[in-house]
């Protein structure tokens, strides 16, 4: 498998840390998708983690 694709994608985003266009952009929390996700999160069972019992692994 070639590894150049992820590198090329990152190279497009490369810049110095001080520049505003540095790297992948941070999430846009104002986008509609985020609002939909927050609504969906409200429907998660608050007891889900309490019910989630596992056995010890490695």
């Amino acid at each position: 498998m070639e590894m150049n694709d992820p590198l090329r994608r990152e190279e497009k985003k490369e810049s110095t840390p001080d520049r505003k266009d540095s790297g992948p952009s941070k999430p846009d929390v104002n986008r509609p998708g985020r609002d939909d996700l927050l609504k969906r999160m409200k429907k998660v069972d608050p007891k889900q983690s309490e019910k989630y019992k596992q056995r010890t692994g490695q």
Binding site: M1, M3, P6, L7, P17, G23, R34, K53, G57, Q58
Partner: protein, 496 residues
């Protein structure tokens, strides 16, 4: 290629639960899950007689590996089940060279040996896809989304299961040299490798609430240990190279399961880079932490990276300063590995991530798991006027790791383009079926593809065929080694 750290691999144990049952049985469910794997594979033929799990890097052998009393009781009951050991393990070796099986009741995907960090990340994601497809098929049988699997490391009640990163390193350098140089790095790499966890579950808890950097930090109890289920160490000392005695396999069990492929790449990439510096004896004398085990938890409970850690000298240092020191060491020895593209990516992104953590931590929320959670959950808490202590936060934390594409919160963020993908989908699709072509996994995968019905047993180190022939893979480290075997055995093995 990197001659000092030539091969990499990741093992991931998944959490499993039936939501339609009050008492989910992980043994039954894990077996049923493995039975639904439709990827071509060799089934129930793992060569357990080739495993050597009791040898310790420090030069001794233990008689048994420990587990806690609760797990002892579970195992006692498991022995009464109407299944053989082989049935419960349900081992599969796939055409991509990976191993998919049940380990201590958790479905586990162990990637094939990879040469590059990006191949490894693609194969880690391929494992996620394979496991996810098994869940879909199993739920199809059940008539609804009854079964859920999670790529995480805790049940929030004190039970942990692992994500282990593995590195082949030369044996000639004494083990204590590796340990001394590596410990401060490992204690602090959770700054970017931590998957984030809401709450704490350490015995004698300190009352911590909120978001930790890492899921696994609460479960680290020693610097060195061969154990994996109790007294978990910063560096595991199991001496099982799965290769010739010229090598060690560094088996790190302190890490988290990352949903973000960028975080996986940075975790493995920086670790490989530090190991390369140590192996080349280019690393200066590192910091000496006074209490590295306590520091694992101390670092995890501070999302600024600035908590002071005591040194043996009496001075203090912050986790960020430790990571910056290792990065500076790497930049002094540019491209030591021979793999310049990977080296450059790792040093560049390592620097950018540490800089963001120091000056613009909000920028981490597109690629570092704990920071993604911090951003998402903070939005949710603000919208719903909740605090970290609200029980729904732990449930949301769990749901972040759900492999169900309709429910998993990380998957939702990925689909809306809010997080860095890093690996293209066609690379992941390819890795589901095809092994890395430059490691011995290629031979293992081709054997499964072409000779599945003629394999008597199979292991990382070799394949035994029904006709008595044995193909020893233990000495195949470089791409040249692999090509040489393929070229020299054309008549013996038809698939080539």
């Amino acid at each position: 290629m990197n001659a000092i750290v030539p091969l990499l691999g990741i093992e991931t144990e998944y959490g499993i639960v039936r939501e339609d049952q009050a008492e989910s049985d992980p043994v039954e469910e894990s077996m049923r899950l493995l039975a639904r794997c439709e990827v071509k594979s060799v089934f129930k033929a793992w060569a357990y007689n080739r495993e050597r799990t009791h040898l310790d890097m420090r030069g001794f052998q233990v008689s048994r590996l420990a587990q806690d009393e609760e797990e002892d009781e579970f195992c006692e009951k498991d022995r009464e089940r109407p299944y053989s050991y082989w049935e419960m393990k349900s081992d599969r070796v796939l055409t991509n060279g990976a191993r998919f099986y049940n380990d201590h009741t958790h479905p586990e995907y162990a990637t094939p040996e990879c040469r590059t960090v990006f191949d490894l990340v693609a194969h880690d994601l391929a494992g996620e896809a394979i496991v996810g497809e098994c869940v879909r098929l199993r739920n199809q049988d059940l008539g609804g989304d009854c079964l859920q699997l999670f790529k995480n490391n805790t049940d929030y009640s004190g039970h942990s299961y692992g994500t282990h990163d593995n590195y082949l390193i030369p044996r000639k350098l004494p083990f204590d040299v590796w340990v001394r140089h590596l410990v401060p790095f490992l204690v602090t790499r959770q700054l970017y490798a931590g998957a984030g966890k809401v709450g704490a579950e350490r015995k004698n808890e300190d009352g911590f609430t909120g978001l930790q950097l890492a899921q696994r930090a609460d479960f680290i109890d020693s610097v060195l240990s061969i154990e994996t289920m109790t007294q978990r160490p910063i560096i595991n000392t199991r001496d099982e190279p799965h290769a010739t005695q010229d090598y060690r396999r560094l088996h790190l069990i302190l890490g988290d399961a990352n949903m973000s492929p960028y975080a996986t790449a940075l975790k493995v990439g920086t670790t490989r880079l530090v190991l390369t510096l140590i192996g080349a004896q280019k690393l200066d004398a590192p910091f000496e932490l006074a209490d590295p085990v306590a520091d694992v938890q101390r670092v995890s409970r501070d999302t600024t990276g600035k908590v002071p850690l005591k040194l043996l000298s009496g001075k203090t240092v912050t986790p960020l300063e430790i990571q910056e020191w290792y990065l500076e060491q790497a930049l002094k020895h540019t491209r030591l590995s021979g793999d310049t593209e990977e080296w450059d990516w790792v040093t560049r992104e390592w620097g950018r991530t540490l800089d963001d953590m120091k000056h613009h931590p909000e920028n981490l929320a597109d690629r570092i798991d704990w920071a993604i959670k911090q951003s998402l959950f903070s939005d949710f808490m603000a919208a719903e006027k909740l605090q970290w202590e609200d029980p729904i936060l732990q449930s949301l934390d769990l749901e972040y790791h759900n492999l169900n594409p309709e429910r998993g919160l990380y998957y939702s963020l990925r689909n809306e383009g809010s997080v860095v993908g890093l690996i293209e989908q066609n690379k992941i699709d390819d890795a589901v079926h095809r092994a890395p072509q430059d490691t011995r996994a290629r031979i293992r995968g081709q054997a499964v593809e072409q000779e599945r019905d003629h394999i008597k047993n199979i292991h990382w180190t070799g394949i035994e065929f029904n006709n008595g022939e044995y193909l020893d893979l233990s000495g195949l480290i470089t791409k040249k080694d692999v090509v040489q075997v393929l070229d020299s055995n054309k008549e013996q093995f038809a698939w080539k």
